[in-house]
Amino acid sequence: MKLAPSPAGGLRIEVEEADDWPLLYGILHDAESPGFDLASHVGSVMQPSADWLDWQEYVMPDIREGYQEHLKVVLTAIETAKLEAAGGPSTLWISRDDAFHWYAALNQARLAIEELHHFGPGENVNPLHLPPSRRDAFFRSQLYCAIQSYLLDQGLG
């Protein structure tokens, strides 16, 4: 898999082999990890109060809906590109308009991985000392972070 800026702004992901597709689907798989609720995570610092109960009831459903929208955009882009390439090599284009959806989906995936594995700052982690499942999660998180950095460099629209 290669990442490169696209001429019209945004980013393109060169899917070089069939094994790259599961990596891309991994974004969605990680983002929807069982037991992780992003809306609760970002609201976890709110003071427990009657207002907080209202927040959970009236505000958080809208926030969750927004998160799902990001995942839908990413899923549609991956499925469309994979279908057009019949599962083989292809180029997946991320337009500037969709850049924030991608960034947010990747962030959701990284937050979920962090919640489950507690890696902390990546530079402090030695993947050689991790068991295979945690090592895979660490590398996925690093890959997602690299894509996010490219998206930030190209502008989030």
């Binding site: 809306a39 926030i63 927004g66 947010a104 959701q108 937050l111 972070c145 996010q148």
Partner: protein
């Protein structure tokens, strides 16, 4: 006995609304450039101010990014959480 007359003296009390703080908390996953971008997008801050607030979040663990009327504070907190930043509301001291 003289008729008594009740006089009323109107009084007016004005209680000033206590401002509410919108607080962003550190989350090691969020990239610093992203936090800066979100603060610029939501509050219209220039890059210098947004980057300064981002550094407070990063180095101090939290930063008051906006203070003011409660309804607006709630709106901003919702926007920040939509952008996946850990955010709380608190009454200003």
């Amino acid at each position: 006995m003289a008729d008594t007359e009740t006089l009323t003296r109107p009084s007016e009390a004005t209680a000033l609304d206590v401002p509410w703080n919108v607080v962003v908390h550190d989350d090691p996953v969020n990239l610093m450039g992203y936090v800066t971008w979100v603060l610029m997008k939501i509050f219209g801050y220039n890059e210098q101010k947004a980057a300064l607030l981002m550094l407070q979040v990063h180095q101090l663990g939290r930063s008051i990014v906006w203070s003011g009327q409660r309804e607006k504070a709630e709106f901003y907190a919702q926007q920040l959480q939509f952008h996946q930043l850990k955010t709380s509301l608190e009454k200003a001291a």
